[in-house]
Amino acid sequence: MKIFSSTFKILLFILATASYVHSEDIQSMILDYNHKNTLSQKRSDKNKGHMALDKKNTLKIYDQIFSSLVDRPQIYVFTDDKEYRDVFRRSKSFILTERFEMSDIILITSEEEFGKIRQEMLAGKFVAKKPILFSTSYRLLKRSTDIVGALYWEKGRSQLLFIKDRLKKHQIELPQEYKIFLIDEL
């Protein structure tokens, strides 16, 4: 008798769940409404920094890009950005410099940093060696003809861009895989 009662309970449970699947219940409406409200919250909470990838992948990408710009096993890199310094410190092929006039490549991540570099350039600090300027911003790339390329995020997509004439000034010939990102003008 006991076994009949428990099987009956199980059957009832199955029927109840099956009817739950088929019914257009209020539950889904509540879920839907709550979800829409939380979506906008999640979105505003999202980190909007330019380094959208994790450190390992960021390093991997910059390793490839900088190696295509400087043909040397050890590349001297300068950046003022704390986050990027932290990333580049892990690299075997980059040597982080404290003084930008010593570097092969300068990564510019902000208007402020660009302003500083520009001042130094005007003061004639780059006479002996002219580092390659690379940016994480399209706007900076557009603003300054000294910046040869940029890696930035637009509409949730990573965008890599090199300007032909600017690379020519540094006598840089890009490897084949990067040539599709080469453009004449912005």
Binding site: I3, L11, I14, T17, L39, G156, R157, S158, I180, I183
Partner: protein, 192 residues
């Protein structure tokens, strides 16, 4: 004798339970798929309406009208913004320049909009397929794309060129659709 019937009954009941659980599992999966397909169909309908509106406002000459008229650009950007509900992450319009580079014509993001004629490198070759075949395509999220679940790329054919309207459904919304039946899925798995 009584025990034999009871055993048969229990086995029968177990078989029924397993069948019900399996069919429910299938129904849940099917229902999630239907939900996703409905969402994509709805997006395609929106794209069609937006395309009609853009062609109407630019008199069938999208690029030249937008080149000349900054106010019209602003108006159409705002029109795209109006469609930016929680489901959509980005809505923008692209055009290929004579050198084959896609460039932004319109962008519905008011917060951080792409500049007019800013270059854009898509992460999928399907953009070129849409451009050549002039048929809309759904593009799944590829490497180097963040915050996007799927993209609908819809061609807008004007008098001289083809522009591409891109409607990105957000990753959060995709996750939400996937998890829509998850409590029920959990119960079904327990029964299995």
């Amino acid at each position: 004798m009584k025990q034999k019937y009871l055993n048969h009954f229990i086995f029968g009941l177990l078989a029924v339970m397993i069948t019900v659980a399996l069919s429910m599992h299938y129904m849940v999966a099917q229902s999630t798929e239907n939900l996703k397909n409905e969402e994509i169909k709805r997006t395609a309908k929106y794209a069609e309406k937006i395309a009609q509106f853009i062609l109407l406002e630019t008199n069938g000459k999208i690029e030249s009208a937008l080149d000349k008229d900054k106010v019209l650009r602003k108006k159409l950007n705002e029109a795209l913004f109006a469609f930016m509900t929680e489901e959509f992450r980005y809505i923008f319009l692209l055009l290929k320049d004579p050198k084959g580079i896609y460039r932004f014509l319109l962008d519905g993001s008011l917060e951080d909009p792409a500049e007019y004629k800013m270059p854009f490198f898509p992460k999928s070759n399907q953009y070129d397929t849409v451009y050549m075949m002039q048929n809309p395509q759904i593009i799944k999220r590829s490497e180097g794309v963040d915050q996007v679940w799927v993209s609908l790329v819809y061609p807008i054919i004007d008098e001289s060129e083809t522009a591409l309207l891109v409607m990105d459904l957000s990753k959060e919304y995709g996750q939400y659709l996937n998890e829509f039946h998850s409590p029920l899925e959990f119960v079904v798995r327990l029964m299995n």
